[in-house]
Amino acid sequence: MTLDLSKFQATGFETCFHDRHINPQIYAGLNGSNWHLQDYEARGGYQALRKILSQAEGEGMTPDQVIADVKASGLRGRGGAGFPTGLKWSFMPRALPVQKYLVCNSDEGEPGTCKDREILRFNPHIVIEGMIIAAYAMGISVGYNYIHGEIFEAYERFEEALEEARAAGYLGANILGSKHSFQLHAFHGFGAYICGEETALLESLEGKKGQPRFKPPFPASFGLYGRPTTINNTETFAAVPWIIRNGGQAYLECGKPNNGGTKIFSMVGDVERPGNYEIPMGTPFSKLLELAGGVKGGKKLKAVIPGGSSSPVLPADVMMACTMDYDSISKAGSMLGSGAVIVMDETRCMVKSLQRLSYFYAHESCGQCTPCREGTGWLSKMVDRIETGHGRADDLALLDNVAENIMGRTICALGDAAAMPVRGMLKHFRHEFAHHIEHKTCMAGTNEHG
């Protein structure tokens, strides 16, 4: 039974098709209906693929040339870790005569992040083209796009786009008459934050519980089905066609040294115009906030979680001095992460905010490692009792202790992701937690998040 819920569905006009991007590449020219293959081609789509596969004299690019261009671009992984993409591609043992796999991580579930969903719905072919080029560069013939189960409509859209690409000869055997063959399929998750972690994602793709693998071996040597595998984020693949068309150096120059290109930031929380903003790396945060219409209701900015819920919170004055790139946010003591910018105004209670985040990590811990399985539960219970007026005098020291003992002691980064928000909150807003414990009430004026 298909329900007609069209009047309740978001159109993308508020969050993606606005005119407040700055030199956009991935979101450029989109309107919600022009996602089809012929629309993408009209925007210059699949020209990068044609360029590298060209058989004409003096044209075409070798796999090494493609990787060199991506290295020169300064493109870094857009999923959160910021690892240099060209370097990652060079780890793939291209000549090894075994089946190798390419995987796109579209399991976008880091709270605050909503950029990949709009790429997949409104510009799916840019991801497909990026993946075909990556597969060519690494000698890979099969790929999968692992899509967040909650955005099922994006999964169905991507499946449609794959059919179009197959029919046009961009996917399959001997693409555009070349020796390059590449099969690409879509896979959907079904509700597990942990599957955004790349080895948990591989386990899930193999039809198992999504529990991360111990590393090493890394996926480049032991990935999907035990075969060499490269995994990149959706937005990372989406950046590739522009780099190939315009050159790595041009991409680098869009951003700043070591932080090439544009990046999509999801502005969420207390802003006037929540949505996605594609802007050059290195743009001041103050400019990004202005694009999003400023703090909602003209209130004062209190704090920002700059890179998804796992990144440590930064107070307003620190954040206002930052530029939006990996190096600046890192220097300020947090992470650019996935580019989800959670804005909080002066009325927000930091204890209540952390209460919800700590609950989330306890809920989503896969249970494999004791420090995370037990520690996230303890963190959640302690923050909960502080918020509800039952905090104890030694709770802050205990929170410090538990967070410290999770950090670095688990197979994957979920433990760190649960500990870092606690440490960030206690570093910058310790007095609010102490006030809650001592007075059993909130000092933020209102305790209502709605």
Partner: protein, 165 residues
């Protein structure tokens, strides 16, 4: 237990993977079963295990690990409301509370007429559209103010199976 049409949908998923890796299709097959039956029963798990050449317990491990599989029957309309922090900052929790009060259920509960199940959930990946919700796993709806929630409940009632009959 499954119709030819359903088995054909399973086969389309299985075809995406190497012949010796049919298990990769288990997530998709379970979600197809849930779409058709409303939930994932032990019988459904067993039938999928047979199709994919898996042990039933390996299928059960998947059903119980992922949040969106219904391990027991739910209402005709399963409504998941995101209450994670970015949504909470834009009335996500308020939307959850309003919906529960309107329908007279608590988190995870089903209305007496069997029409609605309401569950809070974690990040749906549409934070700029908050409050956001999922209807029956596959349709996302956005900007769910109280007025729109009222409209949603009326719209779903009008499209319910009992009404259609």
């Amino acid at each position: 237990m499954f119709s030819e049409a359903t088995l054909a949908r399973f086969a389309r998923e299985v075809a995406k993977y190497p012949a010796d890796q049919k298990q990769s299709a288990v997530m998709a097959c379970l979600s197809i079963a849930q779409q058709e039956l409303g939930w994932v029963s032990a019988e459904a798990e067993k039938a999928i295990a047979d199709v994919l050449g898996m042990a039933p317990v390996a299928v059960r491990e998947v059903t119980t690990f992922y949040n969106m599989y219904n391990q027991r029957p739910v209402g005709q309309f399963k409504l998941n409301v995101c209450t994670n922090l970015p949504c909470q900052l834009r009335n996500g929790q308020q939307a959850m509370d309003y919906l529960c009060e309107k329908l007279g259920v608590e988190d995870g509960g089903t209305t007496a007429d069997g029409l609605f199940t309401v569950q809070k959930c974690e990040c749906l990946g549409a934070c700029a559209d908050a409050p956001v919700m999922l209807v029956n796993d596959r349709q996302m709806i956005s900007y769910m103010s109280n007025d729109r929630l009222d409209d949603l409940v009326a719209t779903l009632k009008a499209q319910s199976k009992a009404k259609a009959n």
